[in-house]
């Protein structure tokens, strides 16, 4: 299946099932463009709809992380467009992009990346504070989120006193705190034992199913692939597979 076909197919699905929240057009990322060009992404067309539970798979160097970084506005492409909620983020200036990320995108990192000096509650609350949410709303939402990831008894615990799985659940709650349009999770289970990974996936699946939160993962983990309802396969910077499960 060519990229154009996938894109047309997704556009058709959009018409049937609602708005695309992310549209990627002819996305290219070339490293060392001046010397020996390496195509991390090579003319990728793709779309994601609200409520998807998608994982991007592929061998190392296939462009998974690059794709997530570009969609998350952390890196700029060499060519192409990334339209999120009618905004082409490739044209945004640095300051606007930071604000865009704050209000539209949630991130879950492989190595948790919580702020070590803050408690679980404060880590989650922090994002809302950056958004300017008032204290009453912050407190309410923080407790709801930590409850939804099963950590209501750990609200005042610092990250170094939490297990890896618990830290990653706090990271998921933090990613959700800003009420983002979607969550990008870069190999979220890579540093977790199997039980913690299962537990985390279950929580994310419930959040996706019950609250229609869009998750996009990059992963090598077959357990994540098994849970995903759409699996996009990248190889050498191109989409070589895009399978949606019922």
């Amino acid at each position: 299946m060519t990229n154009d076909l996938i894109y047309n197919d997704l556009r058709l699905m959009t018409n049937i099932n609602g708005m695309n929240i992310i549209e990627i057009r002819n996305l290219t990322k070339v490293y060392d463009a001046k010397t020996i060009p390496v195509y991390a992404l090579n003319g990728v067309d793709l779309a994601f709809r609200e409520g998807e539970f998608t994982c991007i798979v592929g061998p190392s160097g296939s462009g998974k992380t690059t794709m997530l970084n570009l969609v998350g506005g952390l890196d700029s492409p060499t060519g192409g467009e990334i339209v999120i909620d009618n905004t082409d983020i490739t044209g945004l200036k640095s300051r606007m992009l930071i604000d865009f990320r704050l209000r539209n995108i949630g991130f879950v990192f492989q190595s948790f990346n919580l702020i070590p000096v803050l408690t679980a509650k404060e880590n989650v609350e922090f994002i809302m504070q950056l958004q300017g949410v008032n204290k009453e709303q912050r407190d309410k939402r923080t407790l709801e989120l930590l409850d939804s990831v099963g950590l209501s008894d750990k609200i005042n615990v610092r990250p170094n006193k939490l297990s890896g799985g618990q830290q990653q659940r706090v990271a998921v709650a933090r990613a959700l705190a800003s009420k983002p349009k979607f969550i990008l999770a870069d190999e979220p289970t890579a540093n977790l034992d199997s039980k913690s990974a299962e537990n985390l996936l279950e929580i994310m699946e419930i959040l996706n199913r019950e609250e229609n939160i869009t998750f996009i993962f990059s992963t090598h983990d077959p357990r994540v692939v098994a849970k995903a309802r759409r699996v996009i396969t990248l190889e050498d910077g191109k989409i070589v597979g895009d399978i949606s499960k019922n």
């Binding site: 991130f107 990346n113 922090f126 950056l130």
Partner: protein, 406 residues
Amino acid sequence: MIFKIAFKNVWRNKVRSMIVIISVTLGLTGGIFAVSIITGMMEQKVRMDINNETSHIQIHHPQFLKNFESQYSIPDADSIAGMISKWSDVKAVCTRIRITGMAASPNSVAGVQIMGVDPLQEKKVSDLYATIPDTGGGYFTGTRKNQIVIGRKLADKLKVRLKSKIVIRFQNTDGNLAEAAFSVNGIFRTANTVFDETNVFIKKSDLNPLMEGENESQEIAVILKDIDKIPVAETLLKSRLPGLDIRNWIELRPEMGLITSAIAIEVYIILGIILFALAFGIVNTMMMIVFERTRELGMLMAVGMSKSRVFRMIMLETVFLTLIGGIIGMILGAALTGFFHRTGIDLSSLSKGLGAYGFDAKIYPFISRELYINLTVMIFCTGILSAIMPARKALKLKPVEAIRIE
């Protein structure tokens, strides 16, 4: 929250933070104490000069200070002094005869400045009487005529003791040579050995008959309730007494004014150098912190923390680190200064050298409130300036690269 994170971050690596805090604390404690010794010495010197010699303001005939000739006396000096003493800002006023002459003993002769004073008036203006030690006699005690109070250095030079006779010679207002013998009633000892060697005090009532003038005074000395009122009082005096020469203590002792101003600048230079040196340590620590926390800073920027907030966070951390050490240093410096201000620092071994320059051998360290306020601002500015380089380094991080650094 930025404030909270920044403050908590200071204590993430307690050992490292404590090293910075201790270095700032010690640097400032030492700096403040050194400065307090210098300012204390100067403060004592100025106070001593004012109390023993110049007063706050002196009034003379316009020609008098050129050659110190006794003919240039102040007309109606007692009435003027009476008028000035009624002003609310004035603490005390006295009139003086001031002439140059010779003091001779059977053993030696010395050139001296002869001050004719009213002891009761003089005691209100000058603290000289308080510098007479218990073994040094008194300050015009008893009713005997022709008493003289001299300095220890002059007494040594003339080889005289209490009750010894000294002959004073001078040119009176008529230009004739006048002389009389005086009995040493008191021997004062100020910190200024030059002053002690060159000044003798005689009662006006004993000196007046020799002057052959009519109760004349060459000098009116004014002490104010508040030294800061000098400009106001000086302006008022100049407007009321346009025909007279009115000078404040700095104009009378320009070298003291110069030294005082120079010391005031030097104090800031000393503290500035200390803070500048400390700033390097702080910058180094903060740069290490930024390198160590690269991934965390990348994450913060990735999730939407603006560059200005990242900048502010690093800035706050640096300011906290500096201020904690700075405040402790200021408190310790103040405590040390306060302690030695009460007990004094005895530098008797250096008294000869210090005395030659008019400094007391016992130093009472002192720091003004103004200096403390300025120092707080300087410490705060050091914190901010030290933060600029690490904060800029943090801003240059690219989140996409920073979050991948292990």
